[in-house]
Symmetry: C2
Subunit: 339 residues, 2 copies
DNA sequence: GTCGAGTTTGACACCGGTGTCACGATATGA
DNA sequence: TCATATCGTGACACCGGTGTCAAACTCGAC
């Protein structure tokens, strides 16, 4: 298991180091049979280039970072595996940076991390995708990055996005088609741009169907289970409670379902409850939840792909790639109850 | 944002590169005021050593890998953040390797990964912790590693462990103390050593209390929600169904709870249901679940710590560090129903 | 005052690759 | 036929640090 270096290969193939390097990096201007000979030597010697040395010489690290702060563990791991899929194929390692978005010295911390790690590129997930000061920092430090699901300044960098507004709109249309008109809505964390988009979709569908949006049917949640319990309780305490509740994510919806169970409100017969994200809990809870599925893994994989492209060919035009969400109907939604 | 190299610092401090390097690595035999002067230059110039170069020269990568294959997303992210905590403090990056444990060419894939990435160390999580051929491979390739929660050959490497058998034993004792004697058990995936330990704890507690262990009250699950539904259904179909069901993890238990909800079996009044792992679902489901909490983050942090120690000081004796599990009583368990 | 041991420091090669440039060989055009 | 462009290749410096070794300096003991 002794290391095979470039010199060994050079000797074995009877060419210079530089030519080995050329073959390694797929450069042109290497004759066909030289290339073949070198590649044979690679095989025979089991040669693996040393990423440290390559990096030092060419000022790369073959490291891609992923920055996140998301309570949805399944979202995190899905994003990771999606991105990793591409990274491994392209010879990059993925290093992870869970960071506290609320932290006061966040920007400083991030700057330290970037300086220390010498990343080739960084994948930003919400809510970092919309953090303008961070984007500036990255520009200033000349670190390439992609953003997943940003909502502002799409022209600033390559991005992958889905259409939360549209998905939310579809969900509400679906509820309306079941006969619901008193549709409650629980908003997500105001720091996440997705929260606003999801509300927009709700409003759009309501307006389009000429249903008056009642303030008292809209509650402010925070993407957490607990906020779901609280908001759910408040909504169900109204004089005229809603016949359907659409929560901005599955955790909130799960909180609502818990309140229903406690109060023996039968879902979906007395109340429909819908979530957003297709988190595992949406499947594991009872009744299983109607929700929106976001193609997380493919999005992350694509994000990594365009990031690597932009690392390699210095500033291509800033691609924005769109993905479609999908409405998943399960047991927690049904026709409006007859009075 | 131009790079400051070791030469710049050397010039600025009026000493040689080598002395800078000495200060950087906290070597002894540097006079106090030279050290102070160099450190001042570090500050003033904002010097950051280049990990690539350091790695190339000293044959390190400052990369620690984490290998896992676990359906429990929250377990994964907790392990990651725990380990990362230590890694960042010690100047290492964490790179992640989700791999399919069932894959046929697993060992080959891993070998490739290791060769390509030049890791300084690797953190193994179950079920990889017990994969002997992998341990051999790592030894052969001279890659340091720690194992989290292994159950075989603890002397082979540094490990962090908790006592699944004991925790499971405590859970069953708790159920017995509530008056239960017909206690069903749903086993976990046979590939995970934890499954066997959890069963052992069950057996021990039952035997100790002189309760006959009935075969028909033990089912084979697979750590999945679906297997929980199936096993739950079977257990509840028995002529004499159990009054309590202890599932080997929370997903299984959630499946059982779903079956109860469907059949309008009131938990915990007619049936107690307990899980293992304290996954988020155990809190978000209704009724919230009695379960076992494993100190995942501290364990992972400690694992990283002893790994780094063993990387630095070549083969210290193989530490094994123990952690305690904790029984968390929530709403899904209660006294045995009166007939 | 001399000697030996220990401390502090720097010169220089080296880690394993890549960038630059120059050279010879072959192809192209006038 | 000769000048010029293009291709294929290697010599050599260089990326930013660390390891080795020897020189210079300090200090206490004799």
């Amino acid at each position: 298991m002794k290391k095979v270096t470039i010199n060994d290969v050079a000797r074995h193939a009877g060419v210079s180091k530089k030519t080995i390097s050329r073959v390694l990096n797929n450069e042109q201007n290497v004759s066909i049979d030289t290339r073949a000979r070198v590649q044979r030597s690679f095989k025979e010697l089991g040669y693996r280039p040393n990423p440290q040395a390559r990096g030092l010489a060419s000022n790369q690290s073959f490291l891609i970072g992923m920055l996140y702060d998301n309570p949805n563990k399944s979202y995190i791991t899905d994003t990771q595996t999606g991105a990793l899929d591409t990274c491994q194929r392209e010879g990059y390692n993925l290093v992870i940076y869970p960071e506290d978005f609320e932290s006061l010295d966040l920007l400083e911390r991030l700057e330290q991390l970037l300086i220390n790690s010498h990343l080739d590129g960084l994948i930003l997930t919400p809510p970092f995708s919309d953090m303008l000061p961070l984007l500036e920092l990255l520009d200033r430090m000349a670190v390439s990055y992609v953003r997943i699901a940003p909502s502002v300044c799409l022209e600033l960098s390559p991005c992958v996005i889905s259409n939360d507004t549209e998905a939310s709109y579809q969900m509400v249309r679906y509820l309306i088609s079941l006969g619901h008109t008193r549709i409650g809505f629980i908003k997500g964390h105001p720091d996440h741009s997705a929260s606003h988009k999801r509300l927009d979709g709700y409003m759009k569908a309501m307006n389009e169907a000429d249903i008056t949006v009642v303030d008292e049917l809209i509650e402010q949640g925070f993407f957490t289970f607990r906020s779901g319990e609280e908001c759910g309780r408040r909504l169900l305490n109204r004089e005229q409670p809603p016949t359907a509740i659409f929560a901005s994510n599955d955790f909130i919806a799960a909180g609502v379902l818990k309140v229903c169970a406690q109060r023996k409100i039968s879902v979906p017969h007395q109340l429909s409850v819908c979530g957003f994200d297709n988190a595992p809990i949406s499947r594991y809870i009872w009744p299983s939840m109607t929700t929106i599925k976001n193609p997380i893994k493919p999005m992350a994989a694509e994000a990594a792909k365009i990031l690597i492209k932009s690392i390699r060919e210095e500033s291509l035009e800033n691609t924005v790639i769109k993905f479609e969400d999908e409405l998943i109907v399960r047991e927690s939604s049904g026709p409006v109850p007859v009075q």
